[in-house]
């Protein structure tokens, strides 16, 4: 039992190919997890999207015995060697050991051309959406010159209690979303598709028998007796993470078991360990849609010292699209952000490292796509930069 728990913990971490790390990376630079356009009627509202949830558990890293964080490598048992990202393709297993191979270009061709558009064609009462459909929340901030249209949409949706419903494709997966407004801020709640929810019949629940009124009344009494006007805020917290962070905090203060390993020169950027997601979203909402807003504070900068506790509290969510979570531990693919970038005005020549380094993974991917760089879907941000630089 203990081992399996440890294994799960391990699987959450260490994998630098997950989109989660990229989003943390982008967020630290004050950049959105995704950007696109909401349209209702002929009005378009360019927006940036940020996870509204922080990491679900304390994010532990796996260290080697000498303290160096471990890396994961893809390894071909046939060739007995590690395999680089550009030698990897995706296979759908049709029979034991038999695969249909799908290439990046083939999958890209399946995306809707306007995959960066969230087109609201239907507005429903928020209260009408069953709770089982809700999956994950993202805040939307205005970008471009959309402040006015953004505020208008938020205002009216909040007044009417309506949510706009749409589907769109983000990072390799199609999402059903409800766009709603709270505190004059737009939020996208991703919803499950109808066929992702089982019916009681599919589960095999028995039919309701004839009920004994006294028995129902007994449960009604219990419910009344234990009814409260409010939630207990303490009860709604993640105690386990708090206990873990208490231990970390104490050891950090006492300088016990604290290691600063030597990292290899060409070490991949795993993304910062601590991102103040709240701060990032705040700034994006206030930048009023002007791109010049710049980067938000990240505790990456040595000037700003923070305790591990506050770091954990601010930690960015994995921001992982729900699909990767349900992949029963299998790492389905390391592919992200293939959609069309809303604003690809920056089309400068590749090769200037500083410019490339400041791009989001989404943008780099788009560049790699336009250059037709093979294996781009499996590449990390650094690998994309490298591949674009060396492409001539």
């Amino acid at each position: 039992m203990a081992t399996s728990k440890r294994e799960r913990r391990g699987q959450r971490n260490g994998s630098h190919r997950s989109s989660g790390d990229d989003s943390a990376n982008d967020m630290a630079m004050g950049r959105a997890f995704w950007s696109g356009t909401i349209s209702f009627g002929l009005v378009s509202v360019p927006v940036e999207l940020f996870p509204a949830t922080r990491s679900s558990t304390v994010h532990f890293r796996m260290l080697s015995p000498d303290g160096t964080p471990v890396r994961r490598r893809y390894y071909c048992p046939e060739h007995n060697q590690d395999v680089e990202a550009d030698e990897i393709v995706r296979g759908y297993e049709v029979a034991k050991g038999e695969y249909v191979v799908l290439r990046d270009e083939e999958l890209e061709a399946l995306e809707p051309q306007k995959s960066r558009d969230i087109d609201l064609r239907l507005f429903v009462n928020v209260a009408e959406i069953p709770p089982t459909y809700f999956e994950r929340a993202y805040y939307l901030a205005p970008s471009g010159n959309s402040n006015k249209a953004y505020r208008l949409l938020a205002e009216v949706m909040q007044q009417t209690g309506k949510a706009g419903i749409a589907t769109f494709v983000m990072r390799d997966k199609e999402y059903l979303v409800a766009i709603l407004a709270e505190n004059h801020i737009l939020r996208a709640e991703t919803l499950r598709f109808h066929d992702e929810l089982r019916t009681p019949e599919e589960v095999g629940l028995p039919a309701k028998p004839r009920l004994d009124k006294d028995r129902v009344a007994r449960f009604e009494r219990i419910i009344r007796k234990h009814t409260a006007d409010e939630l207990d805020p303490e009860e709604m917290l993640d105690e386990q993470s708090r206990r873990l962070m208490d231990i970390v905090e104490r050891k950090y203060q006492e300088k016990q078991d604290v290691v600063r390993p030597e990292l290899p020169e060409e070490d991949e950027d795993d993304g910062p360990s601590t991102v103040n997601l709240l701060e990032v979203i705040r700034r994006s909402l206030q930048s009023g849609g002007s791109k010049s807003g710049g980067g938000a504070t990240s505790s990456k900068s040595p000037s700003k010292r923070r305790t591990p506790k506050s770091a954990a509290a601010d930690k960015a969510s994995s921001g992982k699209p729900p699909s990767s979570k349900s992949g029963n531990g299998k790492h389905s693919h390391g592919k992200h952000g293939r959609g069309k970038q809303a604003d690809d005005q920056d089309d400068g020549p590749p090769g200037r490292s500083a410019a490339l380094g400041s791009k989001t993974k989404d943008e780099l991917y788009e560049r790699a796509k336009s250059l037709d760089i093979p294996g781009r879907s499996g590449m990390s941000k650094d690998q994309l930069i490298e591949a674009i630089r060396s492409h001539k």
Binding site: F40, G67, V70, V124, P131, A137, L152, K251
Partner: protein, 260 residues
């Protein structure tokens, strides 16, 4: 056919106990791929390496650490990790009942069905009572070494348990400042409201389909049969002008759609 229960457990409410079985209400429809070596299409394995030495690090030799500062780690040992784990439980305990509106949409994480495990009369009576009083129970349990908080609700004649995200995992809207600007023109607000009205309808989840997933599946099937898929065309949307002009034009369009 039916689904397999994940867990047999007791539901505790006050002095009452209702034995239940827990089932996932979510069906995984994602298309899962394996990563293959391009040259020979052999499925790849992953190995953990120490990047300094390039040596494989066996799982037993790894240590857990929290990155407290950039590149500075606090290492936790087995005992410390275990100490933070919640007590294992054999029960789902309902601590209180509340108005369902107190539970924020952002908290909902994953739904489960509860089914009866014997004592069907108690099970269905509880569901009936919950539905009749329009209440949600706040429930706590520990599953596979992790503590959960959930909302117990009636779903038709059945019980449903929706696992909730911890409150500290969520960024509440009240903690954020909405974008500011000049007051909006009444005219525009009215137009926008009319447009939303024109597009208002009921939530019919079966009207929406994961188109991309179906296309990926189609492509796989076509490749299996050695066929190619026809290219699809999309028509671009017309460009928009000023905000109120766009609203008016949209209203006109929506109105026409209605009438036609």
């Amino acid at each position: 056919m039916g689904a397999r229960a994940i867990w047999k457990v007791e539901l505790h409410l006050g002095d009452e106990t209702v034995p239940v079985k827990l089932y996932s209400a979510v069906q995984d429809r994602n298309i899962h791929f394996k990563l293959l070596h391009e040259v020979d299409e052999v499925p790849l394995q992953q190995r953990r390496v120490n990047p300094l030495t390039d040596e494989t690090v066996p799982y037993e030799d790894t240590r857990r650490a929290f990155e407290a500062e950039r590149d500075l780690f606090v290492v936790l040992d087995e005992a410390e990790l275990a100490a933070a784990e919640p007590e294992p439980s054999r029960a789902i305990t309902v601590t209180r009942f509340v108005d369902p509106s107190l539970i924020n949409h952002q908290w909902y994480e994953r739904p489960y069905y509860l089914g009866p495990d014997g004592h069907e009369d108690d099970y269905f009576a509880l569901a009936e009572a919950l539905a009749g009083q329009n209440k949600a129970g706040v429930a706590r349990w520990t599953m596979r070494g992790k503590g959960y908080v959930g909302a117990l609700r009636a779903e038709g004649p059945y019980l449903m348990l929706i696992a909730l995200r911890a409150a500290d995992e969520i960024i509440p809207a009240e903690e954020l400042e909405p974008p500011a600007g000049r007051a909006m023109a009444k005219e525009e607000l009215k137009l926008a409201e009319q447009l939303i009205d024109a597009l208002a309808g009921e939530f019919q989840p079966e009207d929406f389909r994961d188109e991309y997933r179906h296309r990926v599946k189609e492509l796989i099937d076509a490749k299996l049969e050695g066929k190619t898929l026809p290219k699809r065309k999309y028509k671009p949307e017309p460009a928009a002008g000023s905000l109120s002009a766009s609203l008016k034009a949209s209203l006109k369009k929506a109105g026409l759609k209605r009438a036609g």
